[in-house]
């Protein structure tokens, strides 16, 4: 097994990539760019847990509260994400329903599950499948931002569909929660230090 930088008392700057000697337990800064240095991201596990839990909390109202309220002359209706999926499905456009379901419901949930799995495996010092877990991590990092699509769609709809008094639409209270879920999971993903996966494999 190759020598890790931490074992050699070295630390790499995450900003400029400069490798420098670590001054021990103390906090340190990069001698070239001045960015904070840490051999492993500090509180990575804690921070990821915190953000993931926050995201999980926000996930509930994000799916229960309506994200979009549309008013027409005759009626006014509020849709949650799931009811929107149902409407899309019943109106025949099941591919769209599938996309929304996957991007807005499954992916945030999957991300949270994946993060929990990674955190637990690091915690338990599992050495199995470290490579697969790293791949999983890269995938959730890549895929996370696409959930934001919903927020953008709603934003556009609200901005464009304003034909008072014939038709109007307003964002629902669920939307900020949904955005919070997406942002928090993204933050949680970045705050997770994938090097921790390998630390366990190293031991």
């Amino acid at each position: 097994m190759a020598l890790s930088a931490a074992e050699a008392g070295l630390v790499a700057c995450q900003s400029c990539g400069l490798l420098s000697r670590s001054p021990g337990e103390q906090l340190s800064r990069c001698p070239r760019c001045g960015a904070g240095l840490a051999s492993r991201q500090r509180y990575s596990i804690q921070r990821t847990w915190a953000l993931a839990i926050a995201a999980a909390i926000c996930y509930v109202p994000a799916n229960l509260l309506p994200v979009l309220t549309t008013q027409t002359l005759a009626s006014s209706r509020s849709d949650t994400i799931l009811s929107g999926v149902a409407v899309l499905y019943t109106s025949g456009s099941w591919p769209l329903a599938l996309i929304v379901l996957v991007a807005s419901v499954m992916i945030p949930l999957g991300k949270l599950a994946a993060l929990a799995y990674l955190l637990l495996s690091v915690r338990l010092g599992s050495a199995n499948g470290a490579r697969d877990r790293t791949r999983l991590y890269r995938m959730i990092e890549l895929i996370g931002r696409w959930s934001m699509l919903d927020v953008f769609v709603v934003t556009f709809v609200v901005a464009l569909i304003q034909f008072q008094p014939l038709m109007a639409s307003q964002p629902g209270p669920g939307l900020p929660f949904f955005a919070a879920v997406v942002i928090l999971t993204m933050l949680a993903t970045t705050s997770f230090d994938p090097r921790l996966i390998w630390d366990a494999a190293h031991d």
């Binding site: 020598l3 050699a8 008392g9 070295l10 630390v11 400069l18 490798l19 420098s20 000697r21 670590s22 001054p23 021990g24 103390q26 906090l27 340190s28 800064r29 990069c30 001698p31 070239r32 904070g36 240095l37 500090r42 509180y43 804690q46 921070r47 915190a50 953000l51 839990i53 926050a54 995201a55 909390i57 926000c58 509930v60 109202p61 509260l65 002359l73 005759a74 009626s75 209706r77 209270p173 929660f177 919070a180 928090l184 705050s191």
Partner: protein, 537 residues
């Protein structure tokens, strides 16, 4: 293993002294998220009002999740479910009401479905054509909370909280087509008919009126209400009158009220005392006639055109009305006569008419026996054929006695002038009828035909006439010429004819002279005619 000398070339990181926290500050985020989510849940639970059920006959236009409950046009709730009720034939609508309106859900709160209603007199709820039906709500005044209600099928017209008062009217019938008809005071709409229904005994119609504040103060115990529905066409002694309060009332009906000027100082109307709804203003505002004296009249002519309610005039002044028109049978004489019962309001005519019955009768007796007071049927006008009873003095009427023992008094009558007029008219018509109009017509027709024929002939001969005329003209011209010739031959001073004429005349003169001589000689010697002339006697 590690090559220490290689690593020494690397720069050393700058140490930053800092105390280490055991717990990351990032935990604030989930706590914050949890607090916000909890806040929302608490808010939801807190603002969640009661769930109520309303029974309707039909759930027309009511949809779960789409129909709102509105109070004063503010959404206070939403229908969550519509299902058939356990009560047969009813629909149960479940609605969630906002917490802010929970206090309004009391025993006498009312619900009804607002849908477009287009009636003869009202068009309402048009907005619901676009917005969909909704459930209207009216808060009650009771303090007892309630969660299940029965919806009204007809929307409330007047808000329960509207300032004003409700009044009850009793009427024989109603002429308007729907509740909501306006109530007028001096032609100003001041209220509405809230509801009307048959009285429990079925013998009258109970009408509920709502008069808005501050106009309700004009209703006193002396106020009269009357119906202003449709057109009032009245035919009476003053002719034909046509009235309508407003176009709205003309179509949809209405009620008007006023307080007569002669009324006692008006006392405020007592709640719950029903007013009478009169037929029209005249009836309503009529003075309450204190003394109505009945009389009977036995006419000896047809009562055609006389109806109950027809006026009775006394010397031309309206003094009463006909109450009964019928026949009477006299068993003693086996006679059937028209009988008319009338009532007279003596106090309408005279303020000081004796109210004492006996004295009053004495007055009537004197009028009948000394002044010749008689009843007579008269015609309002010839066109309508309506008749009324007139009481007038007929000084030359045959004497009559008033039987004071009879009850009611029978007034003597005189034959109306109308039958004569009618008879004359009839005989005139009969004469007209007898005229041989047809044969006259036929003759006239023949004459005209002949004339026509002649004219045609003339037409044909006219060209001939023309040539004749031409010839005549020429002849005349010849005559003219002839005359001129004659002129010169005969008339001129040297005309040969004249010369000859003169000579001829001289000859004639000479001849005449000879004749005279002859005559003389014959006279002297008549014998000479026989013997001849004696030479030289």
């Amino acid at each position: 293993m590690t090559d220490q000398s290689d690593l020494r070339h690397l720069p050393e990181a700058i140490a930053v002294p800092r105390q280490r926290a055991r717990v990351s500050a990032v935990w604030i985020i989930p706590i914050l998220a949890a607090l916000v989510a909890l806040g929302i849940v608490i808010h939801r639970v807190w603002s969640e009002g009661p769930t109520i059920t309303i029974l309707f006959d039909a759930a027309q236009g009511i949809e779960a999740g789409k129909t709102f409950v509105k109070y004063k046009d503010v959404k206070i709730g939403q229908v969550t479910a519509v299902q058939l009720s356990e009560e047969p034939g009813k629909v149960e609508v479940t609605a969630r009401i906002a917490r802010s309106a929970a206090g309004l859900l009391v025993e006498d709160a009312q619900f009804w479905v607002v849908r477009p209603r287009i009636g003869l007199s009202e068009i309402s709820g048009l907005a619901t054509l676009l917005s969909g039906n909704y459930i209207g709500f009216e808060a009650g005044t009771s303090r007892n909370e309630r969660r299940s209600f029965t919806g009204l099928e007809v929307p409330r017209i007047v808000s329960a909280n509207a300032p004003g008062r409700e009044f009850l009217l009793k009427a024989r019938d109603v002429r308007w087509s729907s509740a909501g008809a306006p109530v007028y005071y001096r032609r100003v709409p001041v209220g509405q008919v809230v509801a009307y229904d048959l009285a429990p005994d079925g013998k009258a119609v109970d009408i509920k009126l709502f008069i808005n504040a501050p106009y309700d103060k004009y209703v006193s115990s002396e106020t009269r209400f009357w119906d202003v529905s449709g057109l009032d066409i009245s035919v009476d002694t003053s002719g034909v009158e046509l009235r309508s309060t407003s176009l709205e009332a003309l179509i949809g009906g209405g009620v008007a009220f006023d307080t007569p000027a002669y009324a006692d100082p008006p006392a405020p109307a007592v709640d719950g005392t029903p007013f009478t709804l009169y037929r029209d203003r005249t009836t309503a505002m009529r003075h309450p006639d204190a003394v109505a004296t009945p009389y009977v009249l036995h006419f000896d002519e047809s009562l055609q055109g006389l109806s109950v309610g027809a006026p009775v005039t006394f010397l031309g002044i309206p003094a009463g009305e006909v109450t009964e028109v019928g026949l009477s049978y006299d068993a003693a004489t086996l006679d059937v006569r028209p009988r008319v019962a009338i009532i007279l309001y003596a106090d309408r005519l005279l303020e000081k008419f004796p109210s004492n019955l006996k004295k009053g009768r004495a007055v009537v007796q004197r009028l009948v026996e000394k002044r010749g007071l008689r009843a007579q049927l008269r015609s309002v006008n010839l066109l309508t054929g309506k008749r009324y009873v007139a009481l007038d003095y007929f000084a030359d009427a045959p004497r009559a006695r008033l039987d004071l023992r009879r009850e009611p008094l029978e007034l003597p009558v005189v034959v109306s002038t109308m039958p004569d007029l009618e008879a004359k008219l009839a005989s005139l018509l009969a004469k007209l009828d007898r005229l041989p109009l047809e044969s006259i017509g036929a003759d006239l027709k023949n004459a005209l035909e002949t004339l026509d024929q002649t004219m045609k002939n003339v037409d044909k001969t006219l060209p001939g006439v023309q040539t004749t005329l031409e010839e005549a003209r020429r002849a005349i011209a010849s005559v003219d010429r002839l005359a001129t010739n004659a002129d010169t031959t005969l008339i001129g001073p040297n005309a040969p004819a004249q010369q000859e004429l003169r000579d001829a005349l001289q000859e004639v003169t000479a001849a005449a002279r000879a004749l005279r001589v002859l005559a003389d000689s014959i006279e002297r010697h008549p014998e000479s005619l026989i013997r001849g002339r004696l030479e030289k006697e």
